[in-house]
Structures are given as structure tokens and as C-alpha cells.
């Protein structure tokens, strides 16, 4: 009974909203707000006949490569800077500036260097995502307990082990925070870099629909993009719960 209740609480509002949308829009003849029925009706012909591979695939791939690149660069660099107070003080104002640049302006800048191909998109994503990851890694390294540092020295852990067992794990709560911020930036950047200059990709396709006034198709693209955002957030949550299980346990205990 309680299980059913909790399921009902979770689903009742979303279901209600979707139903309301469905019925309210059913008789809509407003050109910009087509009935939900029409939007969903266009999904198979719009996406399932090739576009999933031709447009969604490349977008996701660019996103993944750029994001991973940002992690690979940002985490070690941030941890290294966080370990050295002077180094951090030298870098602080420059980093403060670089991170404050709204990442989308990188698109026209990086087009100069990398043209309008995939490299440009990957570099834009990596460059935009690296700052929250790097700066949070710096904070994460600073937050690691002095006594743990002493412990690794006493037991003569090699630099590699210290990185793996102390820095990476100890800073992981901060790193995850940065990685979460970076993920939403990555989605923004992949979409707008495709809107700005591309020949395929989700952002490109949605804008094409909008320009050709294929409104139900455009709506289906918006919904698809939303679903991708939600899925990524969900996957991120799963990874986070696994990686930070110890941290959540520790926090609950305190």
C-alpha cells in the first residue's frame, strides 16, 4: 500500500501535466503550438529513419570526447595546483578571469583556429568544461586533511599511489561538483556550436526545422534534447552515487 502511494506521488503530477498538455493542445490550430499528438506522431519519421545515427550520434560523440578531455586535463592539473599554495596564488587571478568568460563566446574564437569541423566542437566543449572541473579540483586538493597527507608520507606511498589513493579519492566530492557543472555546460556548448556552424548534429537539425517552419518536428527535437539532458543527469547521478558512496555515508553519520 505504501509502495503504491509513493509511486502515485512520484507520477501523479508529471502524468497530469502531460495529460493536460495532450488534451489542451488537441484542438490547437496555433501554428507554433501544435497538438502534442502531432508532435509525438512525427517522432518515428523524423528521428527513427536515420537521423538518430546521422545527427544524434555525432552530437553525443562530440559531447563525450570534449567532456572526457576536460576531465583528463582539468583533474590532474587542478589537483597539482591545489597542492602548492604559491602555484595556486600565481594562477588564481588568471583562472578567475578565464572561468568567468561565458563559454559560448569560445565558439567564434575557436572557429578561427580549428575551422568549423568536429575538432572545433570538441575543443570548444573541452575548453568550456575544463574550468569548473579544474577549479573544483584545486579546492578538492586543498580540502584534503593534513593528517592523511602525513599518513601517506609515513607509509611511503609512491607519487602514483598518492595520486590514486589520496588525491583523487580525497578530492572526489569537489571534483564531482565541478563535473556536474561541466556536464550542463557541455550540453549547451555542443548544441550551440552545432547551431552556429555545422552540417549535422542535433543542434543543427533543430534549427533547420525551425527555419523551415517544420514546427512539430522542431518540437520533437526539443523534447529529444530534453530527454538527452535528463538521461545524462540520471547517468551522472548513478556514477556519483557509486563514486561518492563513502562520502554520503560519512555525511549521514555526522
Amino acid at each position: 500500500m505504501r509502495f503504491i502511494r509513493s509511486i502515485a506521488i512520484v507520477t501523479i503530477l508529471p502524468a497530469g501535466l502531460v495529460t493536460a498538455w495532450w488534451f489542451v493542445s488537441l484542438g490547437s490550430d496555433n501554428f507554433f503550438w501544435p497538438p502534442l499528438r502531432d508532435i509525438l506522431g512525427t517522432v518515428p519519421s523524423t528521428w527513427l529513419e536515420g537521423r538518430l545515427q546521422a545527427d544524434v550520434g555525432p552530437s553525443l560523440l562530440r559531447l563525450a570526447v570534449g567532456y572526457l578531455l576536460a576531465l583528463l586535463i582539468g583533474v590532474p592539473t587542478g589537483l597539482a595546483i591545489g597542492l602548492s599554495t604559491p602555484l595556486r596564488q600565481y594562477c588564481e587571478p588568471v583562472f578567475e578571469f578565464l572561468r568567468s568568460i561565458p563559454p559560448p563566446v569560445l565558439v567564434p574564437v575557436i572557429i578561427l583556429f580549428a575551422g568549423i569541423g568536429d575538432t572545433m566542437k570538441v575543443v570548444v566543449i573541452a575548453f568550456g568544461c575544463v574550468w569548473p572541473i579544474l577549479l573544483n579540483s584545486v579546492e578538492g586538493a586543498r580540502a584534503i586533511d593534513e593528517v592523511l597527507h602525513d599518513t601517506t608520507r609515513i607509509y611511503r606511498l609512491s607519487p602514483v599511489s598518492r595520486f590514486r589513493h589520496l588525491l583523487l579519492r580525497g578530492a572526489s566530492p569537489h571534483i564531482v561538483t565541478g563535473a556536474r557543472q561541466a556536464l550542463s555546460i557541455a550540453v549547451i556548448l555542443v548544441v550551440i556550436s552545432e547551431m552556429f556552424a555545422a552540417s549535422n548534429g542535433l543542434g543543427f537539425t533543430i534549427v533547420q526545422f525551425q527555419r523551415s517552419f517544420a514546427i512539430p518536428q522542431m518540437w520533437s527535437g526539443i523534447l529529444l534534447l530534453g530527454a538527452i539532458g535528463v538521461t545524462l543527469a540520471f547517468v551522472f547521478r548513478l556514477v556519483e552515487n557509486r563514486v561518492l558512496a563513502w562520502y554520503f555515508g560519512l555525511r549521514r553519520k555526522q
Binding site: 586533511d145 593534513e146 593528517v147 592523511l148 602525513d150 599518513t151 608520507r153 609515513i154 607509509y155 611511503r156 606511498l157 609512491s158 599511489s161 589513493h165 589520496l166 579519492r169 580525497g170 572526489s172 563513502w246 562520502y247 555515508g249 560519512l250 553519520k253
Partner: protein
């Protein structure tokens, strides 16, 4: 004491320098610890106990003099030394299980897997934690966490075990249990222990010798031999008249230290047998 001592603290001096200010924390510390000894270091708060321990552990450079472990001067944490810190909650890796924490230093020492398993099992059994291998440290009580830290040190098979006020943050009952655990480990494993504490009772109860430190800048005020029977227990030993005498003597020394006394005339300390150190040619 004629054999090569495990640990030789040879006229160690430590001056902290910040900007243009110099603060002399340790003036001249000089003592040996022989193989298999259990030596307690006691002193008033601010006596530079932690500074001393960090210098011995190689976590901090000395300004003058040197620390030798088994004859060779140390620079940086030496092989064969383990340390149990006061802050048990902060010296265990919260993202590793109890077992992982004890095993990590052994992996780092490249101890083969089979031997590692034996060492970890034994160490955890010795400290009475057979049942929590797969728990995380933060799931345990403070006393149990400190047992994990002790197990990690024991499994490492150190030649010397340093303990920095390890029981200062646990409740009285747990503390008594842990004190007995240390005596038992020491007697059974014949490991050399240097135990730093601010608690006079604890120092006298645990030690074979008690080094009383002066106020900062620190020197050794007196090296008191604790001639209590080897078998000690919380009720009986603490009830012995000799325990009370030694305790009173050490207490008096610590009071003097607090007042800033740096040297005690030999005849002014009737209760303890004072060991005088001569400079040994090194």
C-alpha cells in the same frame, strides 16, 4: 644501552622561521631508545611534543643535530617506522574499508598477496576487530577507529612504532582498554615503541622509561626509569605504592617544567633513578 639503539635523537634543535621571526621550539633534545623498549614522552602542553615527534618521524626537518634510525640519519619518513596519530578520524582513509586501510601500506611495500592477507587478518585479530573488515572507518566508534590505525601500524611490521597522543580523544574506559592493548602488543611482538602523551598516569602506567620534557624551547628534563613489574593491569598496578611514588615524581617534574625549569639537579629527584646521558662519540 650499549647496543646500537634503534632510535638515536642526537642533540636535535628546531627553530621555526616565518618571515624574519625565529621561534625556538626545541633547544636540545638528546636521548636513545633501545631495541624492544617502550618509552613514554611526557611534558606540559606546549612542550614541543608534537614537534619532536614530527622530527623523529621525518615529517619535519631538524635545524641542528640529527635523528638516527638503526644507525643511519633520517631525512624524510624512514623505512620501518609506523606512526599512530592522535586524530584517528583523520588518519584513516574514509573511502577505503577497514581492510583496505590496513592493507594499503603493505601493497605499497610490495608484500605478496598471500602474506598480505595473513598480516592483515592477524593485525585486525590482535586489536580485536575480526568482524569489521568490510566496514568503513566512519561506521565505527572512535576507539575502534584508533584500533584500526594501530592494526595498520602493526601489520606494517615496523622496527619502531611512534604514537602521538593516540588516546587523547577517546573516552576514559576505551582509553584504559587501548592502553592495555598497547602493553600487550609490545610484550608479544617485542616492537620498540615511543609513546608521546600529556597524561602523567598514562605515561607511568605504560612506559618502561618516561622522558619528561621541559617547556619550550624544549630539553629533556629527566629520564625516569619506571621500575614497575612487567605484568601490568589497570587496577593492581595503579594501586601499587611505587606507582604512586613515580606518578608523584613525574607530576612534580611536569609542574617544574610548567614553571620554566630546564635542568634538575641529580640529588633533587629522590624518587626516580635518573639516567644521565653523556655525549657519545658518534
Amino acid at each position: 644501552m650499549t647496543l646500537t639503539p634503534v632510535l638515536a635523537v642526537d642533540h636535535v634543535k628546531k627553530v621555526y622561521t616565518t618571515g624574519t621571526r625565529h621561534v625556538e621550539a626545541v633547544r636540545d633534545l638528546h636521548f636513545d631508545v633501545a631495541r624492544g623498549e617502550l618509552v613514554c614522552v611526557v611534558g606540559p602542553s606546549g612542550a614541543g611534543k608534537t614537534t619532536l615527534l614530527r622530527c623523529i618521524a621525518g615529517l619535519m626537518d631538524v635545524t641542528a643535530g640529527e635523528v638516527r634510525l638503526e644507525g643511519s640519519a633520517i631525512s624524510g619518513p624512514p623505512r620501518g617506522m609506523a606512526v599512530v596519530f592522535q586524530e584517528y578520524g583523520r588518519s584513516l582513509f574514509p573511502w577505503m574499508t577497514v581492510r583496505g586501510n590496513v592493507e594499503l601500506p603493505l601493497k605499497e611495500k610490495k608484500v605478496p598477496r598471500a602474506r598480505r592477507t595473513v598480516l592483515v587478518d592477524e593485525a585486525l585479530a590482535t586489536v580485536g576487530l575480526d568482524h569489521v573488515h568490510d566496514s568503513y572507518p566512519w561506521q565505527l566508534s572512535g576507539g575502534m577507529q584508533q584500533r584500526v590505525a594501530i592494526a595498520r601500524a602493526v601489520a606494517y611490521e615496523p622496527h619502531i612504532l611512534l604514537m602521538d597522543e593516540p588516546f587523547a580523544a577517546v573516552d576514559a574506559q576505551t582509553r584504559a582498554d587501548l592502553e592495555d592493548l598497547i602493553r600487550e602488543l609490545w610484550a608479544r611482538l617485542r616492537v620498540t615503541v615511543l609513546f608521546v602523551t600529556h597524561d602523567i598516569d598514562e605515561a607511568v602506567y605504560l612506559g618502561e622509561r618516561v622522558l619528561v620534557l621541559s617547556n619550550s624551547p624544549t630539553v629533556v628534563l629527566e629520564d625516569v626509569r619506571i621500575d614497575l613489574p612487567g605484568e601490568r593491569d589497570q587496577l593492581g598496578t595503579r594501586a601499587l605504592p611505587r606507582f604512586a611514588e613515580l606518578r608523584a615524581h613525574v607530576y612534580g617534574l611536569v609542574q617544574q617544567a610548567k614553571r620554566g625549569v630546564r635542568a634538575v639537579p641529580a640529588d633533587a629527584s629522590p624518587a626516580g633513578q635518573t639516567l644521565q646521558y653523556e655525549r657519545k662519540p658518534s
